[in-house]
Symmetry: C2
Subunit: 337 residues, 2 copies
């Protein structure tokens, strides 16, 4: 079975599980509340469909890890879905915090239903996530369910701390590359690392393999984010069209930007002169590349990817699910948009 | 031992436990984040102190219930503190949603640090709450810890649904008294009911006693909220001064207001004519009383109080802690501000 064979089976199961969990709110008095969550998850409202739902990478990672430990992935479904809901809770709150109008090409929750209900939608996704995970108590020993809950909540705390750093960085102009890593370790890597760690725990992996899987998720998350930062400046959509999607225009202090600022050259000078306009994004991106930031970002992605793959090999994933995990990592880290 | 003897011992233990839990964020990079949570909890910043911390009624209820089941209350501390943190998570998000400037007489988190960080502070309090509860896995069987977690998360889901109703009610003018109860059952009673239910579970109470304690918390919550609604219109601070604290001026659709609207008399007429001004609050409150809403609110408080006390008696609370529980209920339901 290839990655595609696994996803063909797992994705519908994940989607069904997510819908079952969210249906808890499908009561007469909370119909509209249920509709808000359902809209955000991509199941209803204008523009609904698989593109609106996102790729469900996190639950896939969890289930593939469980399978690569030689176990049946089905009993891990509530926990896999739980992590996807946590990811979506963070997106809903993130969109309010960033005042983003669009998410996956659709109007965001706060834009559609107002900030107060949007905060509440995020909270409800988070609560439903934890309730879902607790269901595994019927398939796994209570001690295992508790340990998995601890791992997931620890990842959430890192996520929240990373979010704190990200927001506080907006107002700082003394940031260096050293400030970057703890922020993305929290915002991106913590939850991906929980996916693989919990997947391994539920798959019955030993202590050493659990640590290796945890490291795999961690480095995968770092590589994923650095690659995302790269695409945000030199990716197709960042360079073409009106370049409004460029991270440079959004003033995002991503890794390449912090690298460029550290050089104190023409890029740093231009950055300090005020917001970069869409029409100059391509030229500034070229200048930033000239100062070595493009190569640096590529090198960092490669290094984190190597560490991720080393960790995955150390985990000794079994059979076709193991091969599918390597394939998933390749897909995530070689994407061009 | 009287209630006071218990609170003299329990309150410092609760406060210490809360500070220990929140100290997880007391790391070099997240010092400011820790300061935000610490400020909200009433431990630091201008106006800090016991008044800024609130009364810690929820953890007290949990610990007293555990003790009234004949068990040691100390091992239940992480869970008691967890529920207080959940209460505070909801307050922080509530203040953003309501755009409230003050909480317990102090500037609210969102007013002080902005909406984005305030959302994050609420999220962190919520995450820390769940992490804290999971610690009881070392003192109680894992199965008990899981069951308590389920009860707490279920209460959070009710809290979130109640909050959805409350926000959605702001824009509705077709509300009746029937709409009131499910809203406060979620917003106020669910968490109080979780306090006593979980306290009983950790105290080793049997199934029947757990249900009785759960009902006690539920009706206590309803009685508490209806009494609060009463005080919001006819309490001292609502009637004296400039009456800016009157729920009538705040357009709050509380029980007496819904009762008055149902009468379709002079009060309903005045209500539909637009916002009530501070200087007319006392007169409108008198009109509302004339139409029977004051008596109705008192009767409802009495009825819910009776049901709460009946439930508590059915739980057969033991010893001095049991007596202290009755005393705590009396204190909560006879307060005048």
């Amino acid at each position: 079975m290839s990655l595609k064979d696994f996803t063909d089976k797992m994705l519908p199961a994940i989607e069904g599980e997510l819908q079952r969990i969210v249906a808890r709110l499908d009561e007469p008095r909370t119909q509209t509340f249920h509709a808000m969550l359902s809209y955000h998850m991509g199941w209803s409202g204008e523009g609904s469909g698989s593109k609106a739902s996102g790729k469900r990478i996190r639950p896939l990672l969890t289930l593939l890890t469980t399978a690569a430990c030689g176990a049946d992935w089905q009993p891990a479904l509530p926990t896999a879905a739980s992590i996807e809901l946590i990811h979506n809770f963070s997106l809903v709150h993130d969109d309010i915090q960033d005042r983003s109008d669009l998410r996956r090409g659709r109007t965001t929750i706060w834009k559609k239903w107002g900030m107060p209900q949007a905060i509440n939608v995020g909270d409800a996704l988070f609560i439903l996530a934890h309730l879902a995970h607790l269901e595994i108590g019927s398939c796994f020993p209570a001690e295992t369910a508790l340990q998995a809950a601890r791992t997931i909540h620890e990842a959430c705390l890192s996520l929240s701390s990373g979010q704190f750093l990200d927001i506080s960085y907006e107002q700082r102009d003394d940031l260096t590359i050293e400030d970057y890593w703890p922020m993305i370790a929290g915002k991106t890597a913590a939850l991906l690392s929980a996916c693989t760690q919990v997947g391994a725990l539920l798959g019955g992996a030993g202590e050493a393999a659990q640590v290796a899987y945890c490291n795999f998720g961690h480095y995968l998350g770092l590589a994923f984010q650095v690659h995302d930062d790269y695409l945000g400046i030199w990716g197709d959509s960042a360079l073409t069209g009106k370049s409004t999607e460029s991270d440079l225009v959004a003033c995002k202090k991503s890794l390449p930007v912090l690298s460029g600022l550290g050089k104190k050259g023409p890029f740093a000078q231009r950055w300090s002169d005020g917001p970069i306009q869409a029409e100059e994004a391509a030229a500034v991106a070229e200048q930033l590349a000239k100062e070595g930031a493009k190569l640096y970002a590529q090198q960092q992605t490669d290094q984190m990817t190597d560490l991720a793959l080393q960790s995955l090999r150390a985990a000794e994933p079994e059979g076709e699910a193991g091969e599918a995990l390597f394939e998933l990592a390749q897909v995530l880290l070689s994407r061009e948009s």
